[in-house]
Assembly symmetry: C2
Homo-oligomer: 636 residues x 2
């Protein structure tokens, strides 16, 4: 019995697909005038004109039809004279029949009564478009393999070919499975969430991808993790479709049936591709019908669709570039960038990166969003994607990285902002865009941001760093950077910091001291975050060792994420801003008000994006949104 | 009264559009789960998550949930032991609640009865994805201005935002006009053609273009050249649409009402843009509703849509790159080519070129298709388009030309074929493609083809040239080229040449002599064509001067075009091949059989496209098609 090839390289997967999947050339007739959308459908045969275009000798100008022989030696000083019947008015497009064989432009004539004077000689055929000049009957007007487009549809109509034979599109179906999955509609309609339930979103992602590729896709009803049901659905699907996808069940756990089910109805091809994410993808073939199991996590499913499903579909359609990832990812541009930060890749597997990009000091940089296969946000937020090959281990800062862009950036105006996480700044992005600029935010904490701009890795930073010695904010931290003397500092607002606790404060937390009580579980922020600096100061002030705090090493990287965990009861307290407490209806125990400021190195003052950013900072609409978040006081 | 600015430059037209047309931001709600297609729709506001994703602390692996504190110092030699109730099985994605705060992978454990042994210590939070890790409630998940895509739709659903406010698409309508125009459906259904009638195809072209741009378009009923009716339709359209286009009526003839009608209902902006074709485009604005009259010829309408309508729509939508022609032409790639032939452009106007392309000896070349604004074939046949700026006059061979490609070429395999026009070779192209190659044909006549390959302007040529001295074909002509000694010659087939005359031969034409009879109108072929060489020989043999032939200077560039003109009675006779006579049901008076051969310079024998071309030459399916054309005898 044939078994799956396990953990193949991407190249091997591609060569197996090209070898095992054959082109299917099935044709169908479409009517350009009455069918639905026909654009991009591919002609299955040469189309031959049934008409001459034009179908009559047509005047190319407004003027008079004449016999050219009668005009010889005509000039403005010695015009030829024609009486009625020896000339004929012709509009542009009018038929010009024998005995006339040319048309004089009206500008080269004068009419006195019925007498026409012609001031120049005409050549035979002059200003006449003879029949068949554009296209003659019998001429090939569109070729097998040409897609229907706005460029050839008019010609197909005019040449008498409104009905054409096109290649049928491959019919595909996606069968989502999983006990823990609930239909998207149910997810959005039912507001009560039970643990383990996850909305079925992969079918919606695939619908979009297939639509962008130009292929139809049907979605099967969601099935539970039941091998028998999945097998029955697969057997039925193979009878009606050219390609079948199963959602999830690709791991090797108790509830994972995909490999076994595929093996039972199709010839196994491979199981596992050496890439990350997307590794667990499984492929088989039944006759010439590819059967694929896509991993369940969004990013895994996405890259499996790009690398495995797209080549199969392209191959079914007889496309030449079956493994062209630029096409698979959506016909996007591939650009060269430099890595903004060192990146460690896993050797032996290709690694997919989701990247943000920006141009700093004339160099286009990219940096990976640090997220797992389960993250949907990083897919939506990324500017582009890259594939690091399987031989790469360490990629030093500044290394070249080719990025498939999913959006067009205005590189000249985009600012790279590194620093403290803040919900108000997150809301600023759209206002910067409204003013014609653009902003990419990297939340690396207050200290991280200052260090980044000092190393030339950003256009601006933000910070809120308490100096316990002086009780002042930011000054002493900024002054430590030798190049900070020309940094422009914008003291934007003050934020209320305090303890976020569950509604009603069931643990009775009033100060840092209360956190060391038994059973209290804390969430901290990452090292380098201004809020963590503040927390360490509070602990020191209270004489508490970090080790006495249950959860000191348990970190969240944003205020909102920390607040979410309080709200759900996963933890009891965190230090954070009032806006984050209000977003979740958590209680807030005020501790202090801190100065949040933005820092811009001098050489960027003339950056075209900075002026637009500064406009957005004083945009009343943004400030009103920020007021609504709670806990902010403007200081600029 | 404000008047149209006449004959503005393209830059001026653009600056007027940007100045006069304002963004319209009207929003509408779409439901991602139940509306029709929503891809590419642009968000009208920031979208904030209503959910934490995940909404519970979820295991990231298959394994056992534990309290991390219980695992300290566990190792494979000294595993920690857990009795029932102190651990809990967790599937990937399962909820992990307190008191558990970490998950150990099943691979790092062993289970004996109910006793679990754990071989390594766990950190707090290890293998747990905390609630809100991906997205926290209150976080911006998609921003104003982002298009809906397969990248953000899953997140919008999961974050509880299936209904989103998007920018409304501008509503546009096209009103075709013209007494001589008939609806496309009538054109294809009625087989009887009367002079002057032209099918209405521009609406179908515009439908396609708008669809590719992502905008809807309504089509108005066809109107006659009646200023009153057109004005009424325009007035109604302005009440319901954001942009209105009138088809044709843009010239200054008696039947041209567009300028006057636009002036009567809108503020005039410009009339005439200094470009060719497309010059007569007219623009006005009523409130903020642009009103455009597009010229009637297909290429004119097309470039007016790209240069005037697209910027208006982009501007209405608030797009930044309102005048990005790459986007207007269809998001195509712009590539650099070298001109294969000298080109003379008209100074003072921008000129649009339709180009074919090919790579010869490592250089990517392009050459313009020589066609007027009325040609539909050249639009369909072109590989791409270029815009020559208005300051350019003469463009020498080899000059750089930027081409917007409308198809992806396989440059390495495409062959550039120059030479004699022949219907069998025209049919060969699809078979070359079937074999994996590609062929671009340039019909320049037999002599033109040989000269072209001698100058390095093609991969192959074809010829059928009679040497009257010897009665042999091609040899003496080819030997005149000094580099011809290594040319590979493929004597492909013989073709029957003769006089094409109307059915029944009403003029009684049996030989060249009969052509000099009074009233007989001849169509010749262009200088350099093998058929013309033969005709000159026949005249010389019969002792007839060219001047004695009525129509000697009246030329058609293909056999089929010449035959079309015989068939319609525009002319009485031409010299050509039997296949062309048969395509039109003309009579054929045989004169001779000529050797048609293909010539390939030695350095191209190893060209990857040549092997595929040679395969196609012996493809039985092609040869069977050629047999059906008539008059061919294989000699290879």
């Amino acid at each position: 019995m044939v078994e799956f090839l396990e953990h193949v390289s991407l190249e091997k997967a591609w060569s197996l697909i090209l070898e095992r999947v054959s082109p299917v050339s099935r044709g169908e007739w479409v009517d350009i005038l009455s069918s639905g959308p026909v654009l991009r459908r591919v002609l299955a045969e040469d189309i031959v004109s049934l008409e001459n275009l034009p179908h009559y000798p047509a005047s190319a100008v407004d003027g008079y039809a004449l016999r050219s022989a009668d005009t010889s030696r005509a000039s403005s000083t010695n015009p030829r004279v024609f009486s009625e019947g020896h000339y004929l008015w012709a509009n542009t497009g009018s038929m010009v029949g024998r005995p006339f064989d040319s048309v004089v432009m009206v500008e080269d004539t004068s009419l006195e009564g019925d007498t026409l004077k012609v001031a120049r000689p005409l050549a035979q055929g002059e200003n006449i478009r003879p029949e068949g000049e554009d296209v003659a009957r019998g001429q090939v007007v569109a070729r097998k393999g040409d897609p229907l487009s706005s460029f050839n549809i008019p010609l197909l109509i005019a040449s008498g070919n409104p009905r054409v034979l096109v290649l049928s599109l491959p019919r595909s179906i996606f069968i989502p499975t999983g006990d823990e999955i609930i239909p998207a509609l149910k997810w959005v309609e039912e507001k009560i969430r039970t643990g383990d339930q996850v909305p079925e979103t992969n079918s919606h992602m695939l619908k979009g991808i297939f639509s962008e590729w130009g292929y139809p896709l049907d979605i099967h009803d969601l099935l539970p993790d039941d091998g028998k049901l999945i097998k029955e659905a697969l057997e039925r699907a193979i009878c009606s479709y050219d390609l079948v996808m199963i959602g999830a069940g690709t791991a090797k756990g108790k509830r994972d049936h995909s490999a076994e089910v595929i093996r039972s109805v199709a010839d196994p091809i491979f199981r596992g591709v050496r890439m990350k994410p997307g590794r667990p993808v499984i492929a088989g073939i039944s006759g010439n019908i590819p059967v694929v199991a896509l991993p369940g996590f969004p990013m895994s499913a996405l890259v499996a669709a790009w690398t495995v499903v797209f080549p199969m579909l392209s191959r079914l359609c007889g496309e030449k570039d079956a493994t062209d990832l630029s096409k698979a990812i959506g016909g996007c541009k591939k650009i060269e960038t430099r890595l903004l930060k060192h990146y460690s890749s896993q050797q032996g597997v290709c690694e997919w990166l989701r990247l943000k990009c920006g141009e700093i000091d004339g160099t286009r940089f990219s940096w990976p969003l640090s997220s797992g296969a389960s993250s949907m946000f990083s897919i939506a937020d990324a500017d582009g994607f890259a594939l690091v090959d399987d031989s790469t281990l360490e990629i030093p800062k500044g290394s070249s990285l080719q990025v498939w862009m999913k959006r067009n950036l205005d590189w000249e105006k985009r600012l790279v902002y590194q620093g403290s996480n803040d919900p108000a700044i997150d809301r600023l992005v759209s206002f910067v865009r409204d003013h014609g600029g653009d902003l990419a935010i990297r939340s690396v904490g207050s200290l991280g941001g200052l260090a980044a701009i000092s190393r030339g890795e950003g256009h601006m930073a933000s910070c809120h760093l308490l100096d316990p010695e002086t009780g002042t904010y930011n000054d002493s931290y900024i002054m430590k950077f030798p190049d900070s003397s020309d940094w422009r500092r914008i003291k934007l607002f003050k934020r209320e910091q305090g303890f976020l606790v569950q509604k009603g404060n069931p643990r009775g937390i009033r100060s840092a001291k209360d956190l060391s009580k038994g059973g209290v579980f804390f969430i901290n922020r990452q090292p380098g975050a201004g809020t963590r600096v503040l927390f360490d100061h509070l602990l020191k002030e209270a004489g508490i060792e970090p080790a006495a705090i249950n959860g000191y090493n348990n970190v969240a990287v944003t205020h909102l994420e920390a607040s979410a965990r309080i709200s759900n009861g996963s933890a009891d307290a965190t230090l954070g801003i009032r806006a984050a407490a209000e977003a979740f209806g958590n209680d807030f125990v005020p501790v202090t008000e801190e100065q949040f400021e933005i820092v811009i190195p001098g050489r960027f003052h003339s950056h075209p994006g900075v002026a637009l950013f500064l406009e957005a900072l004083v945009d009343k609409k943004w400030r009103s949104v920020v007021q609504g978040l709670g806990g902010y006081t403007w200081t600029n």
